[in-house]
Symmetry: C2
Subunit: 573 residues, 2 copies
Amino acid sequence: MAAEQDPEGLAAARPLLTDLYQATMALGYWRAGRARDAAEFELFFRRCPFGGAFALAAGLRDCVRFLRAFRLRDADVQFLASVLPPDTDPAFFEHLRSLDCSEVTVRALPEGSLAFPGVPLLQVSGPLLVVQLLETPLLCLVSYASLVATNAARLRLIAGPEKRLLEMGLRRAQGPDGGLTASTYSYLGGFDSSSNVLAGQLRGVPVAGTLAHSFVTSFSGSEVPPDPMLAPAAGEGPGVDLAAKAQVWLEHVCAHLGLGVQEPHPGERAAFVAYALAFPRAFQGLLDSYSVRRSGLPNFLAVALALGELGYRAVGVRLDSGDLLQQAQEIRKVFRAAAAQFQVPWLESVPIAVSNNIDEEALARLAQEGSEVNVIGIGTGWAHCHLLSPTQGSEVNVIGIGTSVVTCPQQPSLGCVYKLVAVGGQPRMKLTEDPEKQTLPGSKAAFRLLGSDGSLLMDVLQLAEEPAPQAGQELRVWPPGAQEPCTVRPAQVEPLLWLCLQQGQLCEPLPSLAESRALVQLSLSQLSPEHRRLQSPAQYQVGGRPALSFCPVCPCPYHAHRSPSLLPAGGAV
Amino acid sequence: MAAEQDPEGLAAARPLLTDLYQATMALGYWRAGRARDAAEFELFFRRCPFGGAFALAAGLRDCVRFLRAFRLRDADVQFLASVLPPDTDPAFFEHLRSLDCSEVTVRALPEGSLAFPGVPLLQVSGPLLVVQLLETPLLCLVSYASLVATNAARLRLIAGPEKRLLEMGLRRAQGPDGGLTASTYSYLGGFDSSSNVLAGQLRGVPVAGTLAHSFVTSFSGSEVPPDPMLAPAAGEGPGVDLAAKAQVWLEHVCAHLGLGVQEPHPGERAAFVAYALAFPRAFQGLLDSYSVRRSGLPNFLAVALALGELGYRAVGVRLDSGDLLQQAQEIRKVFRAAAAQFQVPWLESVPIAVSNNIDEEALARLAQEGSEVNVIGIGTGWAHCHLLSPTQGSEVNVIGIGTSVVTCPQQPSLGCVYKLVAVGGQPRMKLTEDPEKQTLPGSKAAFRLLGSDGSLLMDVLQLAEEPAPQAGQELRVWPPGAQEPCTVRPAQVEPLLWLCLQQGQLCEPLPSLAESRALVQLSLSQLSPEHRRLQSPAQYQVGGRPALSFCPVCPCPYHAHRSPSLLPAGGAV
């Protein structure tokens, strides 16, 4: 994870990136002599996002980075002092200055695992004051990362395993770090690359991009490049004037297409030539700055054929407006005819890329099998040749998605919560007036039960001190909402929560982003089709072992029987 | 803006927070000898967000901070070199190392101004290569800031001018900086404060917060505070054991309410006592950890009355679940009865705060006039006494909003674009296959026309070299979509675009965040009710002066006649 070790990245979430009430509660705990009480919180969500039946756990690497660097600086403490009561005991601020996470232990779902309602993504234990202060930054770091990763995974499921997906939503992201987080975790969720250079620099995400309309429209055609000569691809022989050669090809192309040679925009052609001079091995044409059929396409063909004479192959064209599928089909026909006409077989399979507000629905249309043109696109940033080499052939599909992957417009927040479950080893729960917001008390363990074919049966929560379920042995479990427990005999049992930080120390190196990305695809493959389905899926069950005290009518999957010891005296509910 | 001058804040948007295609185009421009061509881009949006008829310009202060610090570090250039072709001329990278914004000029809508479709929020001119590189970070900094500010302003319009609005959505924000941006610009848009401490430290946003359910549930009632004594508010006389005094009051309260003295949860009461010991002048009760009626409310009253004996007044209660309005009405009745019973008149008007997924619709219900209880709330973070002093009386309404202000679920992105309009003084336009995505060429000026009563009539765009409209003089303008121009005689004419940076130099100090926040309210007050309406508003008109070349069928407000000189040779469209 060398690319991820960026000292400035450490500051992405600073200790004061928190709600003020964490600090006021800290003072309350301190004043009550309880700052160092042992406490445990769980971070989980109550409903899967986007109407699906799964989510992906993500953000752990950011949490670890944050926790390991956690320290209140003098300026932070001074700011807190300025907003807390003026007569606050100075010893409290001394205590704040001494804080770090050296007594904090974190268990977590590995990044890239499947996550389900009620199953902790993080279990955070340590001194009450410290683990309370961590609430807001941990929620901020986990919620959006998991949401974006899940969103990206859904888009990957729609696109199928072969197509290349590029995230290009930085400009529409909710703030600079919204963009960085989106780029990182859409890669983790199954995208192939990002347009976001910083995500490449700081997180090692593969980056991609070529040219925009502004590049095309900035040329009028009267510009004279300082060096118009291009050497052959093989490196031998004299260079040629690419613009002059493209002009010759333009006449052939226009004759072939039945266009006047004056019709294609000279500025667009000059832009293509300029781009080809800079990227002869990665030339791509953006076709829709003026008119695809009468300008973009003939100009692209002229430059691509001129490059071809020198031994270079164009890597693609892109469309960013209009009816993408229909235009792509027409372009593919033109490519085939031109390949035959000019005897350049590779032209037939030049990838056609599309972008323009592609969401799940539009992606499904573009990704459907059976459309003769194996189109598909990319967006604002277009893959370099190393991402889309001509050897991959015309069947390569690349899809660029921006706003709808980064902002998650179907549901822009996951709604994770961070709830106290134990203090001093004693379980804690909230009842509230809203059954959905009640919590499940006690320090817990979580297991995933698998069938003999390796498919997922259900997740099970139990008290941490109970013996773990055993493979091949019958288990009594309360399924969500059931009045009676059922029995299940798993062929395999996987503990879900991994000891990540112990007393502030990283227990083992975190997997790389690419490794977590591979885990996502493995995890999804274990999910049965009815749970993986994006629309109206069957709900995956999270059951509870009987010793747990279930909350009564919660949509998170716990059954109605409750430990009276947790209720207020007198049983007030 | 001392609070905003944070050196780390400068790094929030770094030069590599950009799409890779900006860098590939930079190489293309450089190879074509055009890196230093004079270019101008406009940043604007095409449709107002949320179905409304206005937006607010925001994010300028972040753009200025970014532009003034813009410099590619060695590590940045090295990273770019690693993703560009290996045979790229090293002189290109030397050129990148030399870049800054010392030749960049920016005109802008002042932060907090009303913004309408097609009117530039920013005009950015300078060397082509540099102003191209700025595209993505400027879009990222302006789009979300303007979206959140607009969202906040809508919520402010619904809540009315008197109510206090607290933003508390950090935990649900799209990434850490999503949270910081949201807190900053929801304040600008009309919120009073934020729970986000970092927004207070870095941006000077007032911060607020008290306690969460975890604080309440962390207490069992068996805890012994190291110092249970509290001195009287006046500072004279001996301290008293607050827990013991609350226990005495509890018996009175339970007798009054007809509850058994064992019913209220002892841990909740211990938590209230602990909080009151830390914040005797800002005691607030969070009532719904167990049961509002049978536990939270009697416990609050016991502690508040004990504090009252010592001369302190509780500052509020909060509800975070269930039917907020109905519970608040019941609580208000209890407060009134208890105020009479125990002869403590101030108890009658203790503010009742509510929070819990409040969106525009829920806010409208809570803010409606005529509900007997003048309730209303706040959220995860609750105002300190300095934000909500008891002297403001029971009519004070405070509303806490999280997810629905920060993530803008109605529309999570604004869709700003950054389009090239001129190179070397010559206009540039894009036609594309999609009329909506066509651009309006040429360097422009923008004016706001006002009637004699100071209300806004329309915005007008024209070529920069045309004479400005004059107050009292008739003006021919093409309204959006019209076949013929109309005439308008404004009583006042305001130029809209402010020269912000000239050749990289800040022309005058930026207004403070609070000043921009005041401008928002002034701006909204100038908007007529039919344009300010949030549902199905009348569309505010942005007209064009005849010399502009209008795009043909664009929904942005330009009429169909086009300068032939801008079309490609042969007229391809």
